[in-house]
């Protein structure tokens, strides 16, 4: 039994480890760790690095598929697009740093996910982001919105990677715990995918990029703890990004991979040198010798603990074929970056750290990177908040005297539904000259995939990629299993709405503490829902990120978790990007149809939230056959040229989907729905249900379109016709025009709402 003094105990806790975990460390080392080693275990055994709580749950995700070239475990997943073209993509969170230091937190989130992409030998071609904030009227929240959006823009715009899409929601559940998830996509530039397994005893380890400083020390452990009023003191754990160096690093790395001399590459993100050495060694079944005295340092007097745990940005570690250093190192010098041999690959499977001529730390690589703690927790019964919500019934939301048009305008102006132009106008969406559908134009972002230089484009000149991020977190909160499945289905539906075939998923699991029974129940059920949905839709998970302990502890010590938010990033293939389809109506006379059922529920709806201040009801279960058919018939219609606009019916229901199609395409419409009582009208207009798409059909294809729907037994409803922009947007229910507004009124309401919410003077 190891004797732990109170001072040591405090140190262990400061590293984010439990006493039990400390004993496991001693078992693996056969001795007690020194300060540097303890720090290494602290970061590597954090949830952020080793997934000790979530790994058993992640195992159930489907990860194989005929197009999946690299699944979970590497820096990013790789998917085959054509015989000669593959894309690499991944999502990552930077929640805690962004709460404390919004600009730098968000900036380094973008920088980090980009490094994951180009580490694999891929040129980054697109970024997306999913954001969650509290009440936009709250000054603290506003400062986070401003800082985080500017930070994302600051990095992405400067490195020249377009930010093509994303999603943003506001809910008090994120009041002091904003979420920042960034996804990046790249095109593989080299024939061989660059992986991270170190190989070749005696091969040099080369440190490239920026210098190592004292910034971001222990960021990974900080990212695995709750936020409190003392979190401000963790500001030094927030890294500082330099997009200019990031851009130079991209170019230098891709150029150096072309030499063929790079055996392995690993970016230094969370846990810096510790993580990169341990993972490269463990994956290769070898060891790594690292001499800290050769590491380019930003400041003097740093000790091993600081070198090893620094999360300074824009750094990478390479293994290079011995004797070929001279082919690689000058490339970095030309880009004004450091490139230094700092160690070598050794046979003994340990990470051995030298400092001032002596061994400063020596740890078995597997103990840091693979033989890590694992917690199997017990699943509780559904918590009371959920069962109460499930008892809610449709007839409960009482008539409050507001007309359908008043409700409609309130929804259109709600920050969650209104245009996010205030945000995306700050992002360069167009650099690289490949963006086919801009934000607000389509349900998913669409880019052309231009093959890298050297690969002839003649074979597939028009191949395109669609990408989306989705998470209806209110659904997930109210029923994590159904909600997470709905998130996957919505992502796939958004891709289908632009005509793309869904291919693969990257997921970002943002949850509260798994140590609380409710938190664990949410995580467990959401993972089950994602796994089921990904199997049903044939979209394997290629990797992702887990961010737990998203809780705010107030000064009274009460911990408040966020809504469980499993953000689904999904990519889809467009064989011919010219055939893609936006959400806006473009042609007078086109026929508007609802594909899917007219029946929808007010449970868990934006309507209940906005008009009644309620987050309640049970989100619907998916009918997988219906979901697949609705999506495939939509893709078929787009590929055939029958469908000229397609838009998913999401939050806000049918009425909002119709309004968005009118606004995006700058056309009005006359639409009618069957007669019903007040509740039925609200359900039809504002009720939410999956497996529903609003499409506009070229009139000459009416017959073949209806025939196709009938043959495939897809429920559908013909709503009306597209009319010129100077005629009003009119929605009839039976004999009454319940919504009658000019397109100008719709546009002003939709486009001005978010700026107003974020910038209007506070009372």
């Amino acid at each position: 039994m190891i004797d732990v003094s109170p001072a040591l105990e405090a140190q262990i806790k400061a590293e984010g480890l439990t006493l039990e975990e400390y004993r496991w460390v001693c078992d693996r080392l056969q001795r007690q760790p020194n300060r540097a080693e303890l720090g290494m275990f602290g970061v590597m055994w954090s949830e952020h690095c080793c997934y000790k709580n979530s790994r058993p749950l992640l195992k159930q995700f489907p990860t194989q598929g005929e197009r999946i070239l690299v699944g979970p475990g590497e820096n990013a997943g790789v998917v085959r697009i054509t015989d000669r073209l593959a894309v690499c993509f991944k999502i990552e969170s930077h929640n805690r740093p962004s709460a404390i230091e919004p600009y730098q937190g968000a900036t380094t989130g973008v920088g980090g996910i980009l490094r994951d992409i180009f580490t694999m030998g891929a040129r980054p071609v697109a970024l997306l982001n999913a954001l969650r904030f509290g009440d936009p009227q709250d000054p603290w929240v506003r400062s986070r919105v401003r800082g985080i959006v500017a930070g994302i823009a600051g990095y992405g715009n400067c490195v020249g990677v377009p930010t093509i899409g994303g999603e943003t929601y506001f809910d008090p559940a994120y009041q002091r715990n904003p979420l920042v998830n960034a996804m990046a996509i790249g095109i593989l530039e080299t024939q061989e995918i660059v992986t991270s397994a170190a190989a070749g005893i005696g091969n040099p380890i080369v440190y490239v990029g920026s210098t190592t400083g004292r910034d971001g020390i222990k960021g990974a452990s900080f990212a695995s703890a709750e936020l409190s009023d003392r979190s401000e003191q963790s500001r030094p754990a927030v890294q500082v990004g330099d997009p200019f160096l990031g851009k130079c690093l991209i170019e230098a790395c891709l150029e150096s991979f072309h030499t063929g001399a790079v055996v392995a590459a690993q970016d230094m993100g969370a846990a810096g040198l510790t993580c990169s050495t341990a993972e490269m060694a463990a994956k290769g079944g070898v060891g790594v010798l690292l001499d800290l005295d050769r590491v380019p340092a930003r400041e003097t007097g740093m000790v091993p603990y600081e070198y090893l745990l620094s999360e300074s940005q824009e750094r990478m570690l390479f293994v290079i074929t011995r004797g070929r250093e001279a082919e690689v190192i000058p490339i970095f010098h030309r880009w004004g970056l450091h490139a230094v041999v700092v160690g070598e690959v050794i046979a003994e499977p340990v990470v051995r750290i030298l400092w001032r001529g002596a061994v400063a730390a020596e740890v078995p690589a597997r103990a840091l990177a693979e033989d890590t703690p694992l917690y199997h927790r017990t699943l509780s019964e559904p918590p009371e908040y959920a069962t109460t919500a499930w008892n809610w019934t449709e007839s409960l939301p009482t008539e409050d005297g507001r007309s359908p048009q008043q409700i409609f305008l309130s929804l259109l102006a709600s920050p969650n539904l209104a245009s996010k132009a205030w945000i995306y106008r700050q992002y360069d969406q167009q650099v690289q000259n490949n963006t086919v559908l801009l934000p607000d134009q389509g349900d998913a972002a669409v880019i052309r995939l231009r093959p890298p230089t050297g690969i002839p484009s003649a074979a597939t000149p028009w191949v395109g990629l669609a990408a989306t991020l989705d998470c209806p977190a209110r659904y997930v909160y109210l029923d994590p299993y159904r909600g997470a499945a709905l998130a996957v289905a919505e992502a796939a539906r958004n891709l289908s709405c632009v005509g793309a075939v869904p291919l693969a998923v990257t997921d970002n699991l943002n949850f509260g503490s798994p140590e609380h029974p409710v938190g664990y129940w949410q995580l467990h059920e959401a993972c089950r829902g994602i796994a089921e949905a990904c199997r049903q839709l044939n979209t394997p998970v290629t990797g992702g990120n887990v961010s737990l302990y998203n809780e705010t502890i107030d000064s009274q010590g009460t911990s408040r978790p966020i809504h469980p938010t499993p953000v689904i990033g999904m990519i889809g293939l467009l064989e011919d990007v010219r055939l893609t389809c936006g959400q806006g109506w473009r042609q007078v006379g086109d026929l508007v149809y609802l594909v899917g059922s007219l029946t929808a529920s007010l449970a868990a709806s934006e309507y209940l939230y906005v008009c009644h201040g309620q987050t309640t009801g049970r989100p619907p279960a998916l009918d997988w056959n219906l979901e697949r058919t609705v999506q495939s018939v939509c893709r078929q219609g787009i590929a055939q040229g029958w469908v000229r606009a397609a838009h998913d019916c999401a939050e806000g229901g049918l009425a909002l989907a119709l309004a968005e199609a009118a606004i995006a395409g700058n056309h009005g419409a006359t639409l009618s729905l069957p007669h019903g009582d007040s509740l039925a009208v609200r359900q039809m207009l504002f009720g939410e249900a999956p497996s529903r798409i609003v499409v506009a059909i070229a009139p000459e294809y009416r017959q073949v379109w209806e025939e196709t729907l009938r043959q495939q037994q897809v429920p559908h409803y013909e709503l009306g016709v597209v009319i010129p922009a100077d005629q009003p947007f009119t929605l009839w229910v039976g004999e009454t025009a319940v919504i009658l507004l000019s397109l100008d009124e719709l546009q002003q309401c939709y486009r001005g709402a978010l700026a107003h919410a974020l910038e209007a003077p506070l009372p």
Binding site: C158, R425, Y427, D428, Q430
Partner: protein, 242 residues
């Protein structure tokens, strides 16, 4: 008839490949990417200073780029009356170099703005704009944080008097530029600086082609000029397509 484009690549440039896509891929013109540490522009007809964040735009946009080793060659090229196009960061560099007057300061909103905005053509007697109509309103992409054109009253008056304003923003003015200026040229009309990105508006697939005519105007002018000199030299006439 061909025209050789030389696109200067600074560390931090990020629209260099986009310009090359238009000149080399779409227009099939010889195109060279020229590293900032080179010192010669041999054979280049048009120098393009592309958009991006040269040297991180640290200190001030374009302030460091003016000291790049390639710059003496660019100045010589400009002094010889040859064509120079600066787009976005390139425009900022041209003002730092003193090849164009004025400065580009932070947008009025203090935010980076990326959008497609209306831009009108203020004169059409330049090679750059000869394929447009006077006062034609184009839709052109902008993407900048420091695109608000500023100059003192005398300079602005000179610019207007000498008809050096080439492009003007429509209403609402997106960034607060003086006189709605989106782009200006030198008095000879050979050096053009503009914040909008014509290279992002040249490919029909991307839904916006209003910038293509700028490059086509250049090609036509090159055809005419070279044809004339060919006629003068040998009396032969080429099969120029312009």
């Amino acid at each position: 008839m061909t025209l050789t484009f030389g696109i200067i690549v600074f560390p931090g440039s990020n629209c260099d490949r986009d310009v090359a896509y238009v000149t080399a891929d779409l227009l099939q013109q010889p195109t060279r990417l020229i590293w900032h540490q080179e010192t010669s522009l041999d054979g280049v007809d048009v120098v393009v200073l592309p958009g991006g964040f040269s040297y991180g735009d640290y200190l001030r946009c374009g302030a460091i780029a003016r000291f790049a080793p390639i710059m003496p060659a660019v100045l010589e090229h400009a002094a010889a009356g040859k064509w120079v196009l600066g787009i976005c960061n390139g425009f900022q560099i041209l003002t730092e170099l003193g090849l164009l007057p004025g400065v580009l300061v932070r947008n009025r909103s203090l935010h980076f703005i990326c959008d497609r905005v209306p831009v009108s053509v203020a004169r059409t007697d330049l090679v750059w704009t000869q394929h447009y109509h006077l006062n034609q309103v184009l839709s052109l992409p902008i993407a900048h944080g420091e695109g608000c054109y500023y100059a003192d009253g005398t300079t602005l008056a000179t610019l207007e008097r000498e008809r050096q304003v080439v492009w003007r923003y429509g209403e609402p003015n997106p960034n607060g530029s003086a006189h709605g200026i989106a782009g200006i040229c030198n008095s000879a009309g050979t050096i053009l600086g503009m914040m909008p990105h014509p290279e992002r508006a040249a490919d029909a697939l991307l839904g916006c082609t209003d910038g293509l005519a700028l490059f086509q105007g250049l090609l036509q002018a090159a055809g005419t000029a070279k044809k004339r000199s060919a006629v003068a030299c040998s009396g032969a006439s080429g099969g120029d397509q312009g």
